[in-house]
Amino acid sequence: MPERKLDPAQWVDRYADYLFNYTIVRVNDRIIAEDLVQETFLAALKSAKSFKGKASERTWLISILKRKIIDYYRKNNSAKGKAEVKINYNDTDEQNGEWLEEQVADAFDINAEDAMQNEELGLAIQQCISRLPEKQAEVFTKKTIEGMETEDICKELNITPSNLWVIIHRARTSLIECLEKNWFK
């Protein structure tokens, strides 16, 4: 396998929404989530030299983000008393022995389990979106997640409605394929 290299110029397009979703589930506040994602990217830039290319870029960024979220709760806890730290270490691509103890505690509450599954689903979709060609990802996100009107997207991106539907079709077809591989297994 070729050694993985970092490509910071692409980070925002590729990972910002993924990291943002990961964070917002845990801190429940858009502004704080944006701040944490920003801090994560900046911290990643500063420690780029220590990236050895063993993990994927995304996994590495998530590991930095996890620490940022924990720090955030630590700071908050000292000021406000107790707050729940909700970190799901059971990520598919980084099984790590150290966290096993913490995994035991969860999982009983059906709602929590449900929420966790929805979160994993969200991240799986986000990951599939980030693998699309840039234009497809952009149009699909605007239409599906932001719920923008066809007309408005066409104006903003200067494309015709039939262009838009061709792009949407390609995006959806790739996403179905990607989710079949990574979600429905």
Partner: protein, 83 residues
């Protein structure tokens, strides 16, 4: 008028995911998937994708924040290169 090809069926199916298919189009699609297995299977998966996306309650970071962040990363990278 009621008979459409697979390409048209796919297009209507995509529009239907965003509630943008007209009644006549929906009828055309329903007829088409009665006899076309490929489109039937694609339609089912396409609808499933819609369901999953709404279930996952996806969020996106707003565009201004992203642009700001891109600039910051860009500036930082340039400074790094100069050193």
């Amino acid at each position: 008028m009621l008979i459409i090809n697979c390409k048209e069926a796919a297009n209507i199916c995509d529009k239907a995911q965003y509630n943008e298919a007209k009644s006549l189009e929906k009828l055309q699609l329903r007829l088409h998937i009665l006899y076309c297995g490929i489109c039937r299977s694609h339609s089912r998966k396409n609808a499933e994708l819609t369901k999953l996306c709404s279930k996952a309650k996806l969020e996106v970071m707003n565009k201004e924040s992203k642009d700001r962040l891109k600039k910051e990363i860009d500036t930082y990278s340039k400074i790094e290169q100069q050193q």
